[in-house]
């Protein structure tokens, strides 16, 4: 078994914010009744966090869980553990109607860092990214120019942007262009 590689093997760009491909991340799609005790317990056990409320996400060290839709969560674990976690979840949810899928390799993750992180994202997403509209602890599923994506703030100056693996180069290009020195909007 050879080591897995991420879509852009750690591409990096420095403009008035920095953009870095964050490398491999274990990601698991979990669909089911988010209110069910069994599911809540399983998530708690795996991630060490409760099932988040609508559009919330919890990052807990190298683990996390994000609300994706009324019947879907995205669980984040170390990449190497993804398969075993899928098995564990499947076991824990036996007898309930659910779907668990390892989507770790279907995604690319970028870290965007800098004071102007909101501004850079606002160039490619129509979502309201003002502090009033979007804060750490929330997940935003939206459009990144011409593709679907999601992001959240780990702190006020750092965002993690997730997109499909096949368009990683495109999304990296968008972020690089938007954060190029000279493109500052200085919009507060």
């Amino acid at each position: 078994m050879s080591d897995a590689i991420s879509a852009l093997s750690g591409a990096h760009a420095t403009g008035y914010v920095t953009v870095t491909e964050a490398g491999l991340r274990g990601m698991i799609t979990l669909r089911g009744d988010l209110g069910a005790t069994k599911l809540k317990a399983a998530v708690k056990k795996l991630i060490g966090a409760d099932v988040p409320l609508v559009r919330q996400n919890t990052v807990n060290a190298d683990r996390g869980v994000a609300w994706m839709s009324p019947d879907e969560l995205l669980l984040m674990v170390p990449h190497a553990e993804a398969e075993s976690c899928v098995a564990a979840l499947a076991k824990a949810l036996t007898g309930t109607h659910h779907l668990v899928a390892n989507v770790s390799d279907a995604r690319a993750v970028f870290r965007v860092e800098g004071a102007a992180v909101r501004e850079v994202l606002a160039k490619i997403s129509p979502a309201d990214l003002s502090p009033a509209g979007f804060a750490p602890g929330q997940v935003c599923r939206t459009r990144l120019a011409q593709v679907a994506g999601a992001f959240w703030l780990t702190d006020d100056e750092t965002a993690e942007v997730v997109c499909f693996r096949s368009v990683a180069a495109y999304v990296f290009g968008l972020l690089e262009h938007s954060s190029r020195t000279g493109s500052e909007v200085e919009y507060s």
Binding site: S69, P126, R141, A148
Partner: protein
């Protein structure tokens, strides 16, 4: 550029994050249906100048389908609601009767 509130995730979604799905509350006709009823199911569409019930998918967001009551002339939105219903909720009907007294009503 429409702005519709997705009842499934609460987001005020930009039109560019949505996919339109045509008339809502169509009753599926299938094997056994008369030609006329089947034709109506596939092709005959409400196309009013005024209140229209329609399907939308929050395609770039939570991915869920939802329904909306919208005026096709003023583009006023009277409300959005989950897709799992065969008819508009009472609340929407009441809102409509208030705002559009001349509205013929649902059916």
């Amino acid at each position: 550029m429409l702005l519709l509130n997705c009842p499934c995730c609460g987001v005020d979604a930009d039109e560019t994050e949505l996919a339109a799905g045509g008339e809502a509350h169509l009753k599926r006709e299938t094997v056994g249906a008369e030609d006329e009823a089947f034709e109506a199911y596939l092709f005959m569409r409400d196309n009013p100048r005024g209140v229209h019930f329609e399907r939308w998918r929050h395609a770039y967001g939570c991915g869920k389908w939802f329904l909306a009551a919208r005026d096709t002339v003023t583009l006023e939105v009277f409300g959005t609601y989950p897709a799992q219903t065969k008819k508009p909720p009472k609340a929407i009907e009441n809102a409509l009767k208030k705002k559009r007294p001349d509205w013929k009503g649902w059916a």
